[in-house]
Point group: C2
Chain length 562, copies 2
């Protein structure tokens, strides 16, 4: 079937000029750009001078961070002109292993949004992490046969790369031998260490927070994926990346952006819009959002309005507001004058669907599980820094006689990280400062990167109630107080994702947050987000594992007691 889009003003990413032309589409691809006024197409649309550009590509995203299934995300993303995402299913892989990757492939098969997969390179993130799986190179290798698998996801284990750990290097080599790329993750790495890291075949970085950092990485041959997520916003600092020749080696990404932000601000279109509002060329920003990402990822039949390219086409009102009117993906219209059309849900094999549900493997939790054996009164406490995922070590005097050491006045709450994948019974116990709860307890299975069950409470009873509610609903977030569940936000898929719409997810998340703020959490703290990084033992300084406290800088377990 042929579709003819007449009289558009095309953003040509090759000539970087605007070009008045017709676009002829046959099936899923563009077969002509120019004067096709004589063509007898099955569908003819007159664009009457509207702007037309290639569909946007999010060059690095964790879908799990949206808490949406790929299909629900696609409804949101397509509305905002995203035609493809490079998803690293790192979170679900930490819970479900290769089944998690297979599930994400299945759950995104045939949906309008093209979901390409970058294989999780670091599962678990560190040896401290008791995750649901350990993925070795042999586990990943077979996935390269899949056409939608485009590479190895962010290689966070830069010490492993720099030190030449063979099992790490093997994963990188497998990707390159399979004609795929390797995403990097090396915040602030520079000089000789950066050289070594890149030498081993790391092709990109999305962690740059200054232009100097980006420039060094570009000069050494990495692609820079300029990130503008919910927490990490790097666009403004990286504005010179939108100028030549740097722009030639830069793409756009969101990494972690939650459903509320996607609803409110948009997706890649929002990043383009911001760059334009800050004075950058819309043609350059669009090129980075489409062609550059396609080039980096080897998607040579995408990223441009040109013959032979997939018909991934956006119709825009103008090049400033980047308001998206129509979206075509592989030649099919999925957004028609701001209305979603032609969407149909994917089907997932029963076995895979089962594998990602009921993933909280724990027996009933009792308040005794949270008791800590009193010892020295001087203890290490994890101190939350508002708005950051970094934590600090705080030394506090614990009064073991009173509330088992919990001290609401000093904001010393109890913290537990409970292994929830293999019923090992491991539980890391300690104290946390900065969450600010005055009553009740909050529990969550979103706990990077191992996604064990993390619980913070003002008393052990509510901690047990919240934990058991989580176990019962198969993962998610719960606030309990006075021995009752007060609010819950179920995340039945791997304890990470909802099966609801973006609107519902944003609403549920918001409701739970309101309850937590009402219970005393200070306004400048994002309680669930902050908690989610308390067990991530790659971010300094003091974190909690299922084996107890970890000093991140020395990468050693440390005692609660001093």
């Amino acid at each position: 079937m042929k579709t003819l889009l007449r009289n558009g003003i095309i953003v040509n990413v090759f000539t970087e000029q605007l070009e008045k032309a017709d676009i002829l589409i046959d099936g899923d691809k563009i077969i002509g750009v120019g004067d096709y006024s004589d063509e007898n197409a099955d569908i003819v649309e007159n664009l009457d001078g509207l702007f037309v550009c290639p569909g946007f590509i999010d060059s690095h995203i964790h879908i799990e961070s949206t808490m949406l299934l790929p299909y629900e995300l696609s409804k949101l993303s397509v509305r905002h002109g995203t035609v493809a995402v490079l998803a690293d299913p790192h979170e679900i892989a930490n819970v479900c292993g290769t089944d998690g990757i297979k599930y994400m492939l299945a759950a995104s098969d045939g949906i309008p949004l093209k979901v390409f997969i970058m294989l999780p390179s670091c599962v678990p993130a560190t040896p401290f992490d008791e995750a649901g799986a350990i993925l070795q190179s042999d586990d990943l290798l077979p996935f390269y046969k899949h056409r939608r698998v485009l590479g190895l996801g962010e290689m966070m284990n830069y010490p492993g790369v720099v030190e030449g750990v063979q099992s790490v290097l093997k994963k990188i080599k497998d990707a390159h031998n399979s004609y795929r790329v390797v995403d990097g993750h090396a915040p602030l790495l520079s000089g000789h260490a950066l050289d070594k890291y890149i030498s081993e075949g790391i092709n990109s970085d999305h962690e740059c927070t200054s232009f100097e950092e980006a420039k060094e990485k570009i000069s050494k041959g990495q692609y820079i994926l300029v990130r503008e997520g919910t927490a990490a916003k790097n666009l403004k600092s990286l504005l010179p990346c939108f100028d030549k020749p740097y722009s030639e080696r830069c793409c756009l990404c969101t990494d972690d952006r939650n459903a509320a932000d996607l609803l409110l601000e948009g997706h890649v279109d929002n990043v383009v819009r911001k760059a334009v509002s800050l004075g950058k060329s819309p043609i350059t920003a669009i090129k980075m959002a489409s062609y550059n990402a396609a080039s980096y990822l080897g998607l040579h039949d995408m990223g441009a309005i040109a013959p032979g390219r997939k018909a991934d086409i956006l119709v825009l009102s103008d090049l400033k507001s980047i308001r998206i009117k129509d979206v075509y993906i592989n030649g099919t219209k999925y957004l028609d004058n701001d209305q979603l059309v032609n969407f149909s849900e994917p089907s997932v094999p029963v076995r895979l669907n089962k594998a990602v549900h009921k993933t909280v493997h724990l027996d009933e939790i009792h308040e005794e599980n949270f008791f800590i054996k009193p010892d020295s009164p001087r203890c290490r406490v994890i101190h939350i820094i508002p708005g950051q995922i970094l934590t600090e070590e705080m030394i506090a005097e614990i009064d073991w006689q009173k509330n088992n050491g919990i001290n609401l006045d000093a904001d010393i709450l109890k913290l537990a990280v409970i292994e929830r994948h293999k019923k090992t019974g491991h539980i890391g116990l300690g104290f946390i400062n900065g969450i600010g709860l005055k009553h009740g307890a909050v529990a969550s299975t979103v706990s990077h990167d191992n996604h064990n069950l993390i619980v913070v409470g003002t008393n052990e009873r509510d901690m047990a109630v919240a934990s058991n509610a989580i176990i019962e609903m198969g993962g998610g977030n719960v606030f309990a107080s006075g021995g009752e569940v007060i609010g819950k936000f179920p995340l039945p898929v791997a304890g990470l994702m909802s099966e609801s719409s973006a609107e519902d997810v944003a609403a549920m998340n918001k409701q739970l947050k309101i309850l937590l703020y009402d219970a005393g959490v200070p306004e400048n703290v994002a309680p669930l987000m902050n908690m989610a990084f308390v067990s991530l033992t790659v971010i300094p300084s003091l974190k909690m594992s299922t084996h107890g406290l970890v000093d991140v800088n020395s990468q050693k377990l440390v005692s609660l007691y001093i």
Copy 2:
């Protein structure tokens, strides 16, 4: 083993800036760029502020056109800073089929120059061609397993692509499915036909003769390989291709450049030098000659002085004369202060070596083989246009009673194209105007693209003598006169390539040409080159096949007689 190149001024193709730095090499790759003054390397060279740039890549070449074996070519190319060539062994494949491709792979295995192969897409070039082989997609497909095979060579059969001939499209699809690119060849193709051609997956073009043509092809997503060969010189017309954003999608190539030109003028360095002398930025020209070609061809570990890239490094005196002092390929120095070092000859399996030798399969030729049955006095004669590979149809009055129709005063010489691969006995006979010989006959097995035996003579006896000399030496060029061989230039490999050095090849070629000019060939005619295109039935207008005359425009055999 580590090599340290200290204090170079590096052409950084990413930042497009000059950068004073050390380069640290480990084995075949660069592992550091920056201040490595503390490094204890095995070899330390102080570059004292000399310029350093990535090695040059010839993005499209037919090695057979140099008449040199890959090893002999490498001595010349490396001296001129070429570290890699994309060779389409189209000529030898027309003679020896897949064995020809295998031979070129073997004969270039382990030589300093990296010889990458683009598989010949059109063997034979047309259905008129009685070549030594017919290569179908199934013949080509297994070659994609080879790491040095980077794609499908120039798809000259653009009517086949545009008309959607399945066997043609299959070859293109196989390349893309194997993560490889497809080179195009579509001179002057434009508009809807170009759209259709590109739509089927043709990624580049090296036939552009005007910037308008290049710009259209760039705007439609093709890479442009700016060509500067011996006959076809397009650099000057394509100068705007050296400006942004066009330069981002352009590479440099020589296509067909003979040994004499390579000796005298150079290789890719000559193209860079010319661009600079015409006012273009040396950094841009170097980037096009290295990084762009690597990007186009998926050689993501080449084309830049950066960590992780192969150590393909040129040390230059300056950025204007582009005089090359040292050349490193994969970390080994092959040019040291203008002297070749570390060269060693490749070994070729006996079977393959045998397959490409003694390829002139003909029994002894007699003068009667050249007799034409007299008929109408008005005949079609092929008219050579000096300096062009185009020919014209000329109508001439043939006096059959005198010299069997040969007329030296009117420069009507006898022409024969003899099938030499399969002993079919087919011979195309006719007349040719413009060669200008006053005595003797010239014969050659370099006869595009089928490389049958082509003979032009002032008498049948010398035509037979020349032909038999060719048969005896297994291919090459011969001039015979007065019943004796006067000069010969053996090309024992497939009748296309010499086993001698570039110097000897250039000398032999020159000597033979002097003999031909002495025998009457006008100065503005390149006799061997012009003859070599007389049987190429894709170039207008009148050509000679082994079945007789071909009218190229109508793609039909036509009678000698009117």
